[in-house]
């Protein structure tokens, strides 16, 4: 088996701040994803990457940047945090065949 590790688990930022979330996987999966989870809205795709140095925009990419410098890691940057924003960001990986394996999430609070 494998594991997906997200850091930090909790992130508190100020309005306008640039904030970065990190994700590591040891499944040796090619594809990695970042989803945003908001109450009542399900999971929405921000970015995904099918291989090292590849980036693909999802439905919610505006306001975010991503980076895949290694096969095992995928980072997400909130370029300018919005006041009162609160969400959980979920990282996942997949062989590409369909099933996703998720990390436990990083909870963002913007003051």
């Amino acid at each position: 088996g494998g594991i997906i590790t997200q850091t930090p688990k909790f992130l508190i930022g100020q309005e306008g701040q640039k904030l970065t979330l990190k994700c590591q996987q040891n499944f040796n999966h090619d594809t990695m994803y970042w989803y945003r989870q908001d109450s009542g809205k399900g999971l929405r795709l921000i970015y995904y990457s099918i291989t090292e140095n590849d980036l693909q925009k999802g439905d919610l990419s505006e306001g975010y940047d991503a980076s895949r410098e290694k096969k095992s890691s995928f980072s997400l940057t909130v370029t300018s945090a919005q006041k009162n924003e609160m969400a959980v960001f979920l990282c996942a990986s997949s062989t590409g065949a369909g099933q996703l394996y998720f990390g436990e999430g990083s909870k963002l609070t913007v003051l």
Binding site: I4, T31, Y33, Y35, G40, K41, G42, L43, R44, L45, Y48, I50, D54, Q56, K57, G58, L90, G96, G98, Q99, L100, F102, G103, E104, G105
Partner: protein, 114 residues
Amino acid sequence: GDSVTQTEGLVTLTKGLPVMLNCTYQTTYSPFLFWYVQHLNEAPKLLLKSSTDNKRTEHQGFYATLHKSSSSFHLQKSSVQLSDSALYFCALSAAYQGGRALIFGTGTTVSVSP
């Protein structure tokens, strides 16, 4: 475009009763559907998946059948337990530029009482 609809936001029921969570989808491609379960403060985990029409798939007492004729993949269980209290997501494998990703429904919270 592709989409997934879950009509119930919250389902509350008593231990031992049956439950059905609705999931319908829209896609122009051959559908591949999933159910994920997320317990409080945990990662979402795969519960069921199917791409075969009219074949029941089961896991941990839950079951679902993909019906392409009605674009549905409803999740059922005959007798819920307290430990089934969780958030359930239906998801559809969809084509994006460069690859595939899952599109999720808005989720259904199941709350089971003693």
